[in-house]
Every structure is written in C-alpha cells, then in structure tokens.
Symmetry: C2
Subunit: 201 residues, 2 copies
C-alpha cells in the first residue's frame, strides 16, 4: 500500500485531492468519499489504489516529506539567514497558501500517533528531517563563523524546534495569528542573537 | 449546561469518571456510554445532567482549570525554584498519575478548538492562567532580586510556555519520554540561567 498501481500523474493527483480534502474537512472528519470527490473519480478506485484511509494518510505524509525536502533544498543565503527563512516559512507564515489548515489537519493526525505505529514512524521521520536541517544549518554557521564555536547544534536545534512547534500549535488552534511571530521574536532575542558572532551582525 | 442539578458529590464523581474514560479511550473515541460506565449509572442520567458530549467536555475543562488553580496555590519556595517546580510538574513529569494520558486527550480536544468556540474560549482561559502564573513568578523574581531587572516577564513567559508546550506535545505523541526533560535543560541553560542574578546562584 501507499503507492498507486497507476501512473505518477495518478499518484500526484490523488495526493493533491487528499491535501484539499484534509484542508476542507480536517483529519478526523475527512472520508474516502470526500477525497474521491476532490479527485473526481470513484471511491472504489481510491480504495483499489490505497486501501484504507489510514493507508492513504500514510502515503500522504510520505508525499509531504518529499515536498518538504525539495523546499529545504531551495533555501539560500548565509546560514543564519537560512535559519530565519526556514523558521518563518514553516512555523510563522503558515497562513500563506492554506498551509495553516494543512498543519491543523496534521496536528489531528499527530494526536492519533500514540495509537498508530505507522503514523508515529512517519512523523518521526518528518521530525528528524526538520531537526537535522536545523542542526546542519547551525553547524555550517559555526564553520562559517556566524555562530559562536561553543554553540551545541543539537541543543540549539531542539530548543528552536520545541518552541516554534509549540508556538505554531497554540497559534493555530487558538486562532492567534500573531502568536508564532511573537515567539519567533522572543526566541531570536533570547537565544539566537546571543549565539551569533559579531562578524554576523 | 455544565453543572449537575445534583449534589457537588455527583458533579465531582462525574468529573472523575470523565477523567478515567478520557485516559482510557482518548477524546475522539470516548462516548457518553464509556463515561456512564465509569460513573456506574445510566447514560440517560449523564445526558440529563450535562447535555451533549461537547457540553460535558466543556464542564470537564472548567473542572481541570479549578484543580489546576489549587495546585498552583500550593507551589512553594523562592521564585526561581517555583518556576522550575511548576515546569517540571506540568510539562516534564507528566507520566506520574496518568497525567500523560490526560494531556494526550486534551491535545485531541485542542485540535478541535478551531471548529468549536466553547472549547477555544475555555482553553484560552486555561492558557491565560498558565501564562499569568509564569509572568507573576518572574515579576516576583525580579522584585526579589533573583532575576535580572531588565528581564521582560511577558516575553520570558511566552518563550517558556511555547517551548515546554511544544516539548510536551511532541514527547507525548511520539512516545519520547526523555524529550521534554532535554528541552527543559536546554531552556534553562540558554534562557533561564543567563537571566538569574549572581545572588540567586
């Protein structure tokens, strides 16, 4: 499961239909029929390609993971600028192109992870990608002399990720659009700026 | 809705039954029948006292809010010690007395907040209580000379809350028990310790 027997175009269209249906209905409420309607084909065909709703959601997490990797590869600039751009893109400016609704659906799905090993493993991979991206950026920043040499990349990545993940979750669920931006500013003032070298200023 | 017509003992017993049923089944799956079974009385009686599942859940958030206020009042010691005790109690050592399962059920409920104004308002009150508790502790700490006078209590509270909320959410959903403890340590090293005065050491 998790792959269509059809063409890559079928797979891509089903992923886009899943994306739209999730944003419209949320994870808990969305049905295979909702997704089939967005796809414009029968529910039976969807079940034939992907099995259950859980199987399709697993394939959808993989799809997001791939898209996310491509977006990460497109980040440009000095390491400290890339860190800021990355955080803004994924944790602050999530309202652009309905990303907020997608994050909300993924939060519902994450809340099911304790009861679903497949979801847990796939979200673990996704979390690892975010963490490793931040660790790599900080390491490059230390090598390039923009972050202080005594900075622990793993510890810094953990704190950045936990705070911005918490900020996005609370901001989205409470409908408080300014919250993630405020936490980002606090994090920069309290944690990032003191770890930059003078040559980075 | 939200109050039993019966005695305070009825109300308290129903809240405890709701607590046990939520920990057992999670928010999405739990039914009025599950809660009635824990209560040891009929589902009809539960509906008579509390209306719908959403009404009962609203009353349960109020109940947790009251219990939480009582626990906060019992915190003792110097402000910086109280901050540490508060964070450990609510965000790190959540596995004691099944609090982890309760937090998971509340995360599911929070994921529904964008679609439910009552949940959103009640969770907003609960978030405000946590935030104001941290702000008050930091203010007292500045007055008592254990935190530096230039610390912004609102900004510090926001960063502490976002990071520990994110740490608890990720730790619980991914089954990673050590994660919240690691973030707590990172937060103390990077944010709290540099804001304490030498007289607090």
């Amino acid at each position: 499961m998790g792959e269509t027997d059809g063409s890559p175009e079928d797979h891509s269209e089903i992923m886009e239909a899943t994306h739209r249906a999730l944003c419209e209905h949320g994870y808990a409420s969305v049905t295979m029929q909702d997704i089939a309607s967005e796809y414009g084909k029968s529910k039976a065909l969807l079940h034939y390609h992907f099995g259950t709703k859980a199987d399709l959601m697993g394939a959808f997490i993989d799809h997001l993971h791939d898209r996310f990797e491509q977006e990460l590869a497109s980040l440009e600039g000095r390491p400290d600028e890339r860190l800021e751009a990355f955080i803004d893109r994924f944790f602050v400016e999530y309202d652009e192109d309905d990303r907020g609704e997608l994050h909300l659906a993924l939060l519902e799905l994450r809340a099911q992870a304790p009861y679903d090993e497949v979801y847990r493993e796939k979200l673990e991979e996704s979390d690892a990608l975010v963490r490793e991206t931040i660790v790599d950026i900080v390491r490059e920043g230390i090598d390039a002399g923009v972050f202080r040499p005594e900075v622990d990349p793993e510890a810094l990545a953990r704190l950045v990720l936990a705070s911005m993940y918490g900020a996005r979750t609370r901001g989205l669920t409470m409908g408080d659009e300014a919250y993630a931006r405020a936490v980002r500013r606090d994090l920069w003032e309290a944690v990032i700026e003191p770890r930059r070298t003078e040559s980075a200023e």
